[in-house]
Subunit: 325 residues, 2 copies
Amino acid sequence: MKKVTIKDVAKHAGVSPSTVSRVVSKKGKIGAKTTDRVYESIRLLGYVPNYNARSLVNNSIDTIAVVVDRSPKSLDNAYFSDVLKSIATELSIYEKEILLIFSEMNVDERDKIKNLVEANRIDGVIKLSVMKDDLTVDYLSENQIPAVVIGNPENKGKILWVDNDNEHAMYEVVTNLIDDGKTNLCFVGGSPKFIVTRDRLSGFKKALAKNGLDFNESQVYHVDFSEEDAYRNADKIINENYDAIVCTDDLIALGILRRATDKDKKIYITGFNNSREANRSSSSIPTVDIRTDKLGKWAVRLLMGRIDGDVTVTNKIVKTKFIKK
Amino acid sequence: MKKVTIKDVAKHAGVSPSTVSRVVSKKGKIGAKTTDRVYESIRLLGYVPNYNARSLVNNSIDTIAVVVDRSPKSLDNAYFSDVLKSIATELSIYEKEILLIFSEMNVDERDKIKNLVEANRIDGVIKLSVMKDDLTVDYLSENQIPAVVIGNPENKGKILWVDNDNEHAMYEVVTNLIDDGKTNLCFVGGSPKFIVTRDRLSGFKKALAKNGLDFNESQVYHVDFSEEDAYRNADKIINENYDAIVCTDDLIALGILRRATDKDKKIYITGFNNSREANRSSSSIPTVDIRTDKLGKWAVRLLMGRIDGDVTVTNKIVKTKFIKK
DNA sequence: CTGAAAGCGCTTACAG
DNA sequence: CTGAAAGCGCTTACAG
């Protein structure tokens, strides 16, 4: 089955390849009758332009690298899969394909992306997370490759980014609880090395301050980012009889809640991320919707804007929503 | 920053572009000294071959489409993400990239794949699931596109496939329980419209027959593929006081177990898939490891074999393993 | 072992 | 509005 080329179409329609090209790409004015004839030939012959030939002259391939840091957890994590889903949906609107990249090591990731860019295999990059001293970000910004990061990049001027306002999100949760008369609160977060943990803790403190409540370091707990670890460390938190326990993640909250239930102890606890787990009837808790759908969508929009030459917009903050129940 | 081309390298090394090409592609004999000089120039200039130019003449682009049926659940589902992870790992060994395709509608999926194939954007296809009357499979087989499917395709001769032996897997579970003296068993599965449910039920029946136990339709229950639905429908199963309840999925098993726990009722129940949930200390249950890592790995190997011209191997059955605990 | 030349399938100034 | 021609950056018979 010989592939049909632009020449075949041209011959069949009785025009030149240039004309066919113009019809297909909708560039330049072509007579209505000619256009019709060309389309008819394309349909008849089943012509699909060779993307590689096109890219060779265009230097654009309509493909975006989507980079997932492959920590053991990342892909199993609903956050990543939700964002990926949203990115995929939005990219399809722009008719871009996804080249999916996993990388455990930041150096390897940088080299990989460098290669893909220089081999003309991608037009842009969406990175699902950022880290400190991110080499990929450095490469991308130095070489002015269109790229966007989901999360809070160290140097905001370097690269497009989209993120929640995590400080404000937590501020809102805590303010809400205080308004309900809960004044003895504690904060349970993941590792403080994640910027997101720090941002949320900062929101916690601000809400207390704003409402004239004292803050003490003893109100802050850090656990591993897992339900199991939260469960194991729950006792010391539960025993303090806080009015409310606010957590930076649903799984953390659910781990603590499970421990409390085991001990037949009633607690008030809030999560974060609006995960499926937080919405199961048997263990439904208040949580914060971080709008992964919007995070993904805006990542794509910022990137597409940049590819189209827009240099005015550099980031987008996605509003969260406290789901109190 | 002008892109460096093969000509630049040739000039710098004092050879012809043909020679550089041969060195890079390792085709044809080139003198050791020349080779060294060319490599040195490549390194110095930072040359990366333009993939689109190469593909234009090669008709191969080192990219594989990985197709995910985008049902609402698919991406959140650990099964899909695990398989995807394994495919990614194995493909990277062959230095192939992943073009990630989601598609909700089978017709759209077919058209999408057709386009990518004809535009020379992919060399092969891995599909994470198959359905009845799968149009994508028809297109791929009719046009002899290298492709592999994970699951049980209707017409086994049409396309490469890899799957578990689900009947035997369940046979093994049930036999094992019977050996332990449990004779009053029931089967709880997802919808019977999935081939996998039918295969596992068949294994259940065979194990009973083999051991001279009677089978009655009343021993078979079907629930939606979710923990919630299993929980809701658990009472009628629990009340029968079976020696053991075998389920086709961990979440189903855990839903029933949770209900039993709520009622302070002891049951013996087994799951399927060896999911994280089935291994949590608080609710650990026997389960079957379906080896998603091997499913993904073999999908890639079969595909690569076919791309390299091997037409002898057509499928692979991945052994499961009962994890009794 | 190496080079000159043709060709892969497009696009796009240039000319009309 | 349309075509002839050059060129994108490679690879690969062909010839030596």
